[in-house]
Symmetry: C2
Subunit: 379 residues, 2 copies
């Protein structure tokens, strides 16, 4: 069986875990947390970085930081993971769903402005498949209407947006806040795990407090206060050093990981392109303002029946390919509260997008088998 | 230096982590999560168990499950960790603080009934130092006033309440819901980590959904629904299998860990009892309805000056002893919202309680040194 995903060990993970245990500190915010945060901050020119137990938790921190209250509105794409919306719902927000672009599952930047009301507080672009949303346009809308931008960069590590002046900016370095995932299905992993990036420095101090259960513990350890106390709401957003130690072995190896993933992605693309054109199957589109971090290789079928045929044919040949999100505006939880119109691109990606196996340890032979099997799908 | 705490490795932690990685599954709710949940449930006769990323997160799940809304009141001891209160504040609750008993930092069960109003929704007894609160009394009050009981058993693993009929009930098996911590300072650890126990079966189904980010993913994997969707609020409460694998090596060894901790606790008690009596220092009180899980060895000094002298004398001799909570009703975050009176026992424990080093790898020689140093404190 070729699975859809297989977590990859770089080799040093358990070594670092041993080291953390032997140092006598495996709760959060220790040596490996700081090492991960520093390495990622420097490599990608991020603002302050705080590891979290998941990208969901990082989104919840963002919702607390921008002070979401009952009745505030947040603009979120419909074609995304539930947490992009749930994190704001937990604080009382009304979610206003935006459609995807026609050429890409990312938010249609041209649809955003018409969704803004006097209650809108934030826009949450999701960099689907690690491919940038149109951030110049989104930041410009946010500035005009005095809104916060929280980049959901769950899939966006090591990917870039190329701005109007030709400058490459790492995804997660642009919005006021940004969130990453290190879930086992991502490029660098810690099983479950995430990170909040704070690019707007007004949020730095409070972020540290919310991260540490609403206490000023970080300030206490810097000797800025003489005891640590309950000063705000918050949660236990910080991961164990066991997780941070595992993650450090991964982020240290990111160049190597990315090289391998990109070579797999490119083989898929180059060897499927003719077949795709002949069969009206769309391959991933990377706009000129975006780079590709090879997080995902997906195809957009002409209809759900074509997708079923491909998934079933792969399955019969012991290859697991999977569809992805279901339009959130139609979810059992939110459909009654949703007052907007039909989001046809979100529905189309719901019905027609399929993801192929893509992981570090995928062999050349396995890749050949997957590509051959797709091409031989009987329609 | 003798630290206050040192995490203990049983030896199999990294072996199980390797196994988890090699099995191809290190995100949450895998083999080791299920092994931990089953072992703990069976050993302690708990209801459904769900591992969480922290005890804080388990408390937040409890607050969502009992449907805490703006304005609901929750009775919480003042002498506890911030998360006991914060988890309910995050959902909009007003916290009504209760005082501690005179002979023990646990909630004074006789003070509870006068704090109940028509808005009260839950009582959250905290089993301080792993010593049971008077659960018969508390459950009886809850039943009379139709309230939920959420046991904060962060420190309470492997400890028991002996009920009015002489039956031993594990802490965490009594309230409608209960929460545990596996933070590195606890008896069994995973760095950061926790667990929610659901003893009232009406909450089981929803707990699984809230745990999995508000989706019916668990039902999907049991083939009860044909796709998994957004059906409720929720968060990513489940820990990585890396954490669960580590924890499993610990819970497998709980008998051995507990034996060692209890022998340390008893040496402290037996060798300090005469000195304590002579110096008006209180040693831990274990009521007749409670057992001792040797989570903590604390002393209650006659005043804060005596405590300072002991802590300083130990510190000069390279031994780290630490005080504990600060009365939450006086915290910067809550003092303006607090409308009750002075809680004198909570204030007294804030000012006079000191905790001594207690961990598996504490040697006999180190223990001798600590006891000797305490006894030689110049007053």
């Amino acid at each position: 069986m070729i699975p859809f995903n297989k977590p990859h060990l770089t080799g040093k993970e358990t070594h670092y875990i041993y080291d953390a245990v032997n140092s006598g500190k495996i709760s959060g915010n220790g040596k490996y947390t700081k090492l991960c945060q520093r390495l990622l901050k420097e490599k990608y020119d991020f603002g302050k970085c705080l590891l979290t137990t998941s990208c969901t938790d990082a989104l919840e921190m963002a919702a607390i930081l921008i002070d979401i209250k009952e009745g505030d509105e947040v603009i979120v794409p419909s074609y995304t993971f539930v947490s992009t919306a749930n994190a704001f719902v937990l604080r009382g927000a009304k979610i206003v769903f935006a459609d995807s672009r026609n050429d890409h599952p990312g938010i249609d930047e041209h649809s955003i402005e018409s969704l803004i009301t006097s209650k809108t507080k934030a826009i949450v672009p999701v960099h689907y498949a690690g491919v940038a949303c149109n951030m110049d346009k989104i930041m410009q809308i946010a500035q005009k209407h005095d809104l916060f931008v929280v980049e959901d960069a769950a899939q966006g590590i090591d990917s870039y947006y190329i701005n109007n002046h030709g400058k490459k900016q790492a995804l997660g370095s642009i919005g006021h806040l940004a969130t990453f995932s290190f879930h086992e299905t991502k490029n660098v992993i810690s099983g479950e795990g995430g990170m909040l990036v704070i690019n707007d420095s007004q949020f730095e101090k409070r972020a540290e407090i919310i991260w540490e259960k609403g206490t000023n513990r970080s300030a206490f350890f810097r000797n800025e206060v003489d005891k640590y106390q309950w000063v705000d709401i918050g949660s236990s957003f910080l991961p164990s050093e066991i997780i941070a130690a595992f993650l450090y072995a991964q982020v240290e190896n990111i160049t190597n990981i990315q090289q391998k993933r990109k070579s797999i992605w490119e083989r898929y693309y180059n060897q499927l392109i003719d077949w795709a054109a002949q069969n009206n199957v769309g391959l991933p589109h990377v706009p000129s303002y975006a780079t590709n971090n090879a997080h995902m290789f997906y195809m957009v079928c002409k209809d759900s029946s074509q997708r079923d045929k491909i998934i079933n044919h792969l399955s019969k040949n012991n290859i697991l390919a999977v569809f992805h999100y279901l339009s959130l505006y139609k979810s059992p939880f939110y459909e009654l509260d949703y007052s907007g119109g039909r989001l046809k691109e979100s529905d189309r990606f719901t019905e027609t997008l399929v993801r192929l196996p893509l992981y570090y340890d995928l062999t050349d032979d396995e890749l050949t088998k997957i590509i051959y099997t797709i091409i031989s799908t009987p329609f």
